[in-house]
Symmetry: C2
C-alpha cells in the first residue's frame, strides 16, 4: 500500500498527569521529528485532561482543520481511559467492542480476561485497524485521527506505523547559520531576507550561556532552490568573520 499524502497535522496529548506536573511529557518531540522527516507540517498541539467531553470537542476541531490528527494517551482498561469513546463521540458514531481486537485480547489473556481488558477492544465504528509486518497489534485510525497510546515505549513503536502509512507532499529543506552577532544586531539582515524570500521561513534563536555562538538563524522551505537563495543572501549580508558555522 502506498502511503497517504497529507500536508498538515495536529497532536492532542491527553492526561491529567501531564497537566499536574507529575509526569514530563515524553512523546511530542519524537512525533514532531517523525512528521518533520516525512515532510508533514505539524501546526498545533493541545494538552487536555482525561475528560471525555473536552477530548471529544478537541478531536472534532483538530480533525476538521488538519489533514491528520494524532492523539496520545487515554487508551487502556481503566475509568480514566476515555479517548476511544471520546473520538466516537466527536464523530457522533458508536464505539462497540471490535471482534478482531476482542479475539486478540482473548488470545493474550485467556481465562484472566476481564471486563477491563475488553475496554481495550472498543473501536469507533468505521475505524481502520492499521498494522505493519513489525507492529502487529492494531492501531485504531478513525477518519483522520490516529489513536496512539501514552506509554512512551509503546508510542515510539507506533511511530513505525505512522512512517509506513503517511508522508508529506515533499520533504522539508532546512539550513542553519550560527553567528556571534546578537539578535538585535541581526534584525536588519533578517528583515531583508524575510522581505526578499517569502516562500521560506526564517527563524532566529538566541543562545544564552554559550561561548561558541549567540544566535542560530534557521531557513526552512519546501525546495532546495528557495532555501539556497535565502541562505546565499543571508551569508552575503553578514559581516566579515561570520558565520561561525553553518549546518
Amino acid at each position: 500500500m502506498n502511503p497517504r499524502v497529507v500536508q498538515t497535522a495536529a497532536v492532542l496529548l491527553i492526561g491529567n498527569e501531564l497537566l499536574s506536573g507529575k509526569v514530563a511529557e515524553a512523546n511530542l518531540f519524537e512525533l514532531a521529528r517523525t512528521l518533520r522527516a516525512l515532510g508533514i507540517a505539524l501546526r498545533r498541539v493541545v494538552i487536555v485532561s482525561d475528560d471525555m467531553d473536552e477530548i471529544a470537542r478537541e478531536v472534532r476541531e483538530l480533525s476538521a482543520r488538519h489533514d491528520v490528527v494524532f492523539s496520545s494517551g487515554g487508551v487502556g482498561p481503566t475509568h480514566d481511559d476515555v479517548t476511544l469513546e471520546a473520538v466516537a463521540r466527536a464523530f457522533d458514531t458508536p464505539c462497540p467492542v471490535h471482534p478482531t481486537l476482542e479475539g486478540m485480547l482473548r488470545d493474550v489473556y485467556q481465562e484472566r480476561l476481564t471486563e477491563g481488558h475488553l475496554r481495550m477492544a472498543l473501536v469507533p465504528a468505521g475505524s481502520e485497524l492499521v498494522t505493519t509486518r513489525e507492529v502487529t497489534w492494531p492501531t485504531v485510525v478513525c477518519r483522520n485521527v490516529w489513536v496512539l497510546p501514552g506509554v512512551p515505549e509503546i508510542f515510539r513503536m507506533k511511530l513505525a506505523v505512522v512512517r509506513e502509512y503517511l508522508r508529506g507532499p515533499e520533504p522539508f529543506v532546512s539550513r542553519a547559520v550560527f553567528t556571534k552577532l546578537d539578535e538585535a544586531t541581526l534584525k536588519p539582515v533578517l528583515d531583508q531576507v524575510v522581505a526578499t524570500h517569502e516562500n521560506v521561513e526564517v527563524g532566529s534563536y538566541p543562545k544564552w550561556f554559550d561561548e561558541s555562538y549567540k544566535t542560530k538563524v534557521t531557513i526552512d522551505g519546501r525546495t532546495q532552490q528557495s532555501v539556497d537563495a535565502a541562505l546565499g543572501q543571508l551569508l552575503a549580508l553578514l559581516p566579515p568573520g561570520e558565520p561561525q558555522r553553518t549546518e
Copy 2:
C-alpha cells in the same frame, strides 16, 4: 504584597521550532510543577507557531476561560518575536514602547542600542511590569496573561516571580500506590473508589518494562481528609501482599 489567589491556569507555548521538532519543549514541566505546588490547577496547554493572528486568537480564548494564562516564547528583537503585539491585539489595545523598559534597555546597550532592542520594550497598554527583589528585569503581565520568555534558563528564573505573586486557593493533596496488579485487574477496585469518592481524582498509570510494580494509582484532592478516605478504601480493597509501596 499578598499573592493573588487563582484557581485555574492555561499555558500557551509559542514557537515554530517546537512544532518542527527542532527543539524539545523544555518549559512546561517546570511550570506545571510550580503551579501544582502553588495549588493552581493547570487545565490546558496549547502549542502554536510564531503567527500573530493565531497567538492573538489563542490568548483571547485562554484568557477568557482561565484565571491566569502563561505564554512562553516569541519575546525578543526579531521578526518572529510577535507575542507582545499578539497579546495587545487579543485585547484590542495598543502596544507602544514602554518608557521604563526603554530606559532599562538604553542603560544596558548604550550606544549599541538598535531598533531591534527597542522591540523588547513593547508593552500592551494597561500591563503591569512585575518584579521581585531577585528578578529585577520586569515581567509583563497584561490583564491575566503573564508573558514569559522561551529561553529555558530565563524562563526558570521567572518562575520565582510567579511563585511570589500567585497562589491557589489551597494546596493539592496527592498520594500514590504502587502495585503489581495490572490495570485491568485493578479496574473493579478503582471503579468502586471513583464511585464512592467524587471529590477526589483517581489516576491509573501502567508501567511497562519495570520489575518493581505494574500500575501506579494516584489519588488527588483538595483536602487531606478526602484523599485519606479514598486511599483507605483503596488499600482495604487490594488483595494480600499489595500494595508494593505507597508515596
